[in-house]
């Protein structure tokens, strides 16, 4: 048991060590050369400031978190049916796909101010920006997965005269789950970026707002603290999606870990 834990922790050891080393070097070099603190603060200063402002930071983290989650949920709710439509209907694919690509071609940072104008400066506009950034990988990956159903299984279903719905539920969608989840993993980190971009453009809440307002008052310690929290949030959400993936498709995680073992 302990050995298993050790084996799991080992790949983490090196990156954590490198990170700790870099932080110490940062602290030492900055102190030696006396770099102005308001330009780039010290790690110790950031942690201290973040701790002093913990209640404030947590309140704003919560706002960004739920904007992110709402945008992410919306992107799943819209992206998945879109992927199904694209795969099943060639007509709708040729009608919808170019439009999807257009929505992705316009930089989200450029859309955000317009959306704020339309939807107001509240949370809704941030949710929509998060959604716009996040749904595309879900559509593309899920569609790829659905299109990758082994043709033999489709022939088999056809020879049993199973309905298209039954084939979808019992074969095609579960077969596409690993693709779906790789879309979700990209989408969830993008959703964080989307929410923050929305907050940058105009808001009085959220970690994006904290960063903008803190830097305008030269409070770089606090801005760095907010950045740190954003990173923690993105990593946490990514890990959460990966955990769900492991629970839902254990065969896939198994295949990845035993690349030489037989696997579908």
């Amino acid at each position: 048991m302990l050995a298993a834990l050790e084996r799991r922790a080992r790949p983490l050891l090196l990156p954590v060590g490198v990170l700790a080393g870099a932080l110490v070097a940062w602290e030492v070099v900055w102190r030696l050369f006396d770099v102005p603190r308001f330009v780039v603060p010290l790690p110790s200063g950031i942690l201290l400031e973040a701790w002093q402002w913990r209640a404030y930071l947590l309140t704003h983290s919560w706002v960004t978190l739920y904007e992110t989650l709402a945008g992410f949920a919306l992107s799943i709710a819209v992206g998945t049916p879109l992927a199904v439509t694209i795969v099943y209907s060639p007509v709708l694919r040729s009608a919808v796909y170019p439009l999807l690509v257009v929505t992705q071609a316009v930089p989200k940072v450029a859309i955000a101010p317009v959306l704020l104008l339309l939807l107001g400066a509240g949370e809704v506009s941030k949710v929509v920006v998060a959604f716009l950034v996040a749904f595309f990988p879900i559509v593309v990956d899920t569609a790829t997965g659905l299109a990758a159903t082994p043709p033999e299984l489709l022939d088999l279903s056809r020879s049993y005269r199973a309905s298209a719905l039954k084939t979808f539920v019992k074969v095609r969608f579960p077969m596409a789950l690993p693709f779906f989840f790789s879309g979700l993993k990209v989408a969830v980190t993008l959703a964080v970026i989307g929410a923050v971009v929305g907050e940058f453009v105009g808001s009085d809440k959220g970690l994006g707002y904290v960063i903008v307002s803190a830097t305008s008052y030269w409070k770089s310690n606090l801005a760095f603290g907010a950045m740190l929290l954003l990173a923690v949030m993105a990593i946490g959400l990514f890990a959460l999606v990966e955990l769900v993936e492991r629970l839902v498709c254990p065969w896939y995680a198994f295949a990845r870990e035993h690349a030489d073992a037989p696997a579908e």
């Binding site: 033999e152 056809r158 020879s159 049993y160 084939t167 295949a255 037989p262």
Partner: protein, 252 residues
């Protein structure tokens, strides 16, 4: 059981080229007969299986199964492909019962039958295992059980042992014969391997390259049950030599 009368299949590629996959194939397969189709790649062997299963319509001629013209897929067939294509989230038992579910038959009523088949295929004790815990040969055994669980009268096999290593392949062939002795079906068996075709079949159909036509049909008069030792039998070698000549003479 199966009658092919002057069957031809042409299809159009994405670039608009017309490809003649098979042409003028006439063949009769008797009830409970084991017939192999051999020939070079691209001679339309797999296409013939699809035509028989009703998964693709014939362009010319008629395909009949039990006197009925085949116009659409019918559930009285079992399919085994080159890859096992099992569903990785289902256990061995649930993979076998997949056919039952897709056919809309009651699962519980077929459970005992599925368990029997799994035991017959030498997989007793593996019912709760998942495909990724099995070797390639074992996965293919599960695929065979899946093809037999609804007791179809026709078994269509498209290079079922083609992805296995040579030793497992020979073992699986004899294993298939053992299962076939117990559950007699009409088998149409596509293969690249001449010795596999001779060892397993009642008759071997040799096909010529595109457009696929029947070059020759050979009656294999070896006694059953067949054994691995028969591969050194004079008659076995004669059959194999004759088939090889038919395939390679046309290439030269």
């Amino acid at each position: 059981m199966i009658q092919l009368a002057g069957v031809g299949k042409t299809y159009r590629t994405r670039h608009g080229e017309v490809v003649r996959a098979v042409e003028d194939v006439s063949l009769e397969v008797k009830e409970k007969e084991f017939v192999s189709l051999v020939g070079p790649s691209g001679c339309g062997k797999s296409t013939l299986l699809k035509l028989v299963a009703g998964l693709a319509p014939a362009t010319r001629g008629a395909v009949r199964v039990r006197g009925q013209e085949v116009r659409e897929p019918f559930p009285d067939v079992g399919f085994v492909f080159q890859n096992a294509v099992l569903l990785p989230w289902r256990s061995v038992l649930d993979n076998v019962l997949f056919s039952i579910e897709m056919l809309g038959l009651p699962r519980e009523a077929h459970r005992a039958r599925a368990m029997d088949l799994i035991a017959l295929a030498g997989l007793a004790g593996f019912e709760r295992k998942y495909p990724w815990e099995l070797s390639g040969g074992m996965q293919q055994r599960v695929a065979i059980c899946r093809a037999l669980v609804h007791d179809p009268s026709l078994l269509l096999m498209d290079e079922p042992f083609g992805a296995l290593d040579a030793m497992t392949r020979e073992e699986m062939g004899l294993e298939l014969l053992r299962i076939w002795e117990e559950r007699r079906k009409t088998i149409l068996f596509v293969t690249h391997s001449i010795s596999e075709a001779v060892l397993l079949s009642d008759r071997v159909v040799v096909m010529s390259p595109r457009p696929g036509r029947l070059a020759r049909v050979l009656e294999i008069a070896l006694p059953r049950p067949r054994t691995a030792a028969m591969e050194f039998d004079r008659r076995f070698l004669d059959y194999a030599g004759e088939i090889k000549e038919l395939i390679f003479a046309r290439r030269a």
